[in-house]
C-alpha cells in the first residue's frame, strides 16, 4: 500500500477541479460538452462533482433558513448602492455577524427602502429575506419587509424572485397582486401593469380567479385581463441584456430599444414603420440593431445634433 500519502492530496485536487466546473456551470461560462467529457473520463471525477454539488445544494437550504433566522434582526437593508451600511450591522446579534460578512441583508421595520435605475442601467437588489429584485432600465421600486413583504413598482420593470415560505404583496398603479413563492416579471404599461408568472402564482385584488405559471395578466384600474402568450422568453430577455423580436413592427422594436438608450432612435420615413423584424439584439449597444436594419432593409441611420438617431431609406 505504498504511495498512500499522495491519495488524500489527489482527492483535494479533484474537489478543486469539480468545484471549478460547478462554478463555471453556474456562471454559464462552462463548455457543457467539455464538462460531460471530464465527468465521463474518470468515475472519481463524477464522485468529486456530486460531492461538491451536495455542498452547493445544502447552501441553497441556507438561503431559505436565513429568512427565518434573521426575522428579528433590526437594522437597515444592505443594497448594492449603499455598501457602507454593512458597518451598522456589525453591532447586531452574533448570528447576524455571519450575514454581515457576506454583505447580507436585514431590515428595519419603519421605513420603505428604494432602488432606482437610470436609462440603460440594470441592477439586482437582495431586498429582503427570500426576495430578490432585478430592475430593468429606468425603473423605480420601493419595498418594506414584513409578513408579507410589500413591494411598490412605481416606474419601469422588475423581475421578482421569491423564495420558499415567503409571501409578497406587489402594488402597482393598475392594482395589487398577492404572490406566492416563484418568479415573476412586472412591467408598467401606461397606467397598467403587466405581470408575467414564470413560476409560482397568486391572486389579484379581490378577484376569485387565481393566476398561475405561464399566465400573463394585465392589471388596469383594479381590473385584470389575461393574455395568451405562447413563449415567455422575450418577456425575460432583458435580464440578459437582449431584445427578442419575432415579426414585430419597427415602431414596436424602436419603442423597446429606446427604453435602453439615452439618445433615442426615431423614424424619419413613415413608410419604414411597416417593416417587420425578427432576431435577438443587444440592448446595451444599438449598433448591432442598426447594422441589421441596414443590411436587411437598407435603412440608413444618421446621428442628429442632439444625440438622437434618425432612420431613413438609404
Amino acid at each position: 500500500m505504498s504511495g498512500l500519502s499522495e491519495i488524500p492530496q489527489r482527492h483535494a485536487d479533484l474537489t478543486d477541479e469539480a468545484a471549478a466546473w460547478l462554478a463555471a456551470l453556474d456562471a454559464g461560462s462552462a463548455d457543457v460538452a467539455a464538462f460531460e467529457a471530464w465527468r465521463e473520463a474518470d468515475i472519481r471525477h463524477a464522485v468529486a462533482f456530486v460531492e461538491v454539488a451536495g455542498t452547493w445544494r445544502d447552501m441553497d437550504a441556507l438561503r431559505i433558513a436565513q429568512g427565518d433566522m434573521h426575522r428579528d434582526v433590526v437594522a437597515e437593508p444592505v443594497v448594492a448602492e449603499r455598501p457602507g451600511r454593512r458597518n451598522i450591522l456589525r453591532a447586531a446579534a452574533s448570528v447576524a455577524v455571519v450575514v454581515v460578512a457576506g454583505g447580507g441583508f436585514a431590515y428595519r421595520a419603519t421605513a420603505r427602502d428604494m432602488a432606482t435605475t437610470a436609462v440603460g442601467q440594470r441592477k439586482t437588489v437582495a431586498a429582503a429575506p427570500g426576495l430578490s429584485l432585478d430592475l430593468n432600465t429606468d425603473s423605480r421600486v420601493y419595498w418594506k419587509d414584513g409578513t408579507p413583504t410589500r413591494v411598490w413598482l412605481e416606474r419601469g420593470e422588475i423581475a421578482v424572485r421569491l423564495g420558499r415560505a415567503h409571501r409578497l404583496e406587489l402594488s402597482t398603479p393598475g392594482g395589487r397582486f398577492r404572490l406566492e413563492p416563484g418568479a415573476y416579471n412586472a412591467r408598467l404599461r401606461g397606467a397598467g401593469c403587466e405581470l408575467a408568472v414564470l413560476a409560482g402564482g397568486g391572486m389579484f385584488e379581490s378577484a376569485a380567479r387565481r393566476i398561475g405559471a405561464g399566465d400573463v395578466a394585465l392589471a388596469n384600474g383594479g381590473q385584470l385581463t389575461l393574455r395568451d402568450v405562447a413563449d415567455l422568453g422575450p418577456v425575460t430577455a432583458w435580464q440578459h441584456d437582449t431584445l427578442v423580436l419575432n415579426g414585430q413592427s419597427l415602431d414596436y422594436a424602436l419603442a423597446e430599444m429606446n427604453r435602453y438608450l439615452p439618445g433615442k432612435i426615431v423614424i424619419g420615413d413613415p413608410d419604414l414603420s411597416r417593416l417587420r423584424l425578427g432576431g435577438t439584439f443587444a440592448t446595451t449597444d444599438p449598433g448591432e440593431f442598426l447594422r441589421a436594419l441596414r443590411t436587411s432593409f437598407g435603412v440608413r441611420a444618421t446621428t442628429s445634433a442632439n444625440g438622437g438617431i434618425v432612420l431613413t431609406r438609404a
Partner: protein
C-alpha cells in the same frame, strides 16, 4: 441544477447523508488515514451502479461495499493485523455505527455550514454569501463588488472546494465519538 444526472440526484438524496457512517466503518478497519480513500472508492462503485433505482437501502448497500473493499485491501496487504482480519471476516455487514450519531450527523447542520462559510477568506466568503444565501446572480455580484464575473467564478469555486473539504474533515472528527477498535495500526507479520 440541470447538470446533475438521475444517479447524482439519487446519490445526493440517499447515499451522501450517511457519509459519517461509511467513514466510520472504513476507519474502523483501515485506519483514519485510509478511510477517506476507501469511502471515495466505494462512492465510485456506487456511481457506476446501472440499476441504482432497485436499491432498497442505499446506506446498507454502501456499507457493504465499504466492507468488501476493506476486506480486499487487507488481503492484498503484506502486513496486516490478524485480529482485524478475523473480525472483518466474522462480522456480518451490519452497520457498526449506532444510528443515533450516524444519520446525517451534521450533513444538514446549517449552522455549521454557515460557520464554515464564515471561516473562508473574506472576499471568498462574501461572494459565496451573495451567491448562495442572497441568491444574487454572478453578474450582479460582479457589479456590486466591482470585480469581473470570472473572478466571481474563481471565488465561488475556491469557497465551494474549501467548504466541501472542511465538511469531509469534520466527518472524520464525528467518527471519533464512535466506540470502535483502537485505531493505531499495530502491525503484525502474518
Amino acid at each position: 441544477m440541470g447538470w446533475l444526472r438521475d444517479i447524482d440526484r439519487w446519490f445526493l438524496a440517499e447515499v451522501l447523508p450517511h457519509a459519517v457512517a461509511y467513514r466510520a466503518k472504513a476507519a474502523h478497519f483501515c485506519g483514519r488515514d485510509d478511510a477517506d480513500d476507501l469511502v471515495q472508492e466505494a462512492y465510485a462503485r456506487v456511481l457506476k451502479t446501472p440499476d441504482f433505482r432497485a436499491i432498497v437501502s442505499a446506506r446498507g448497500f454502501v456499507l457493504t461495499i465499504v466492507h468488501n473493499l476493506a476486506l480486499e485491501r487487507l488481503r492484498r496487504a503484506n502486513v496486516v493485523r490478524i485480529d482485524l482480519l478475523a473480525s472483518l471476516d466474522m462480522l456480518d455487514v451490519a452497520d457498526p455505527a449506532p444510528d443515533a450519531f450516524a444519520v446525517a450527523a451534521g450533513r444538514s447542520d446549517m449552522q455549521r455550514l454557515l460557520h464554515l462559510i464564515d471561516g473562508l477568506p473574506p472576499q471568498c466568503a462574501r461572494v459565496l454569501h451573495m451567491r448562495k444565501i442572497q441568491g444574487m446572480p454572478p453578474i450582479a455580484i460582479a457589479e456590486a463588488l466591482s470585480i469581473s464575473v470570472s473572478t466571481v467564478e474563481k471565488h465561488i469555486a475556491k469557497g465551494l472546494a474549501l467548504v466541501t473539504k472542511a465538511r469531509r474533515d469534520s466527518e472524520a472528527q464525528v467518527e471519533e465519538v464512535c466506540p470502535a477498535f483502537p485505531k493505531s495500526r499495530s502491525v503484525t507479520l502474518t
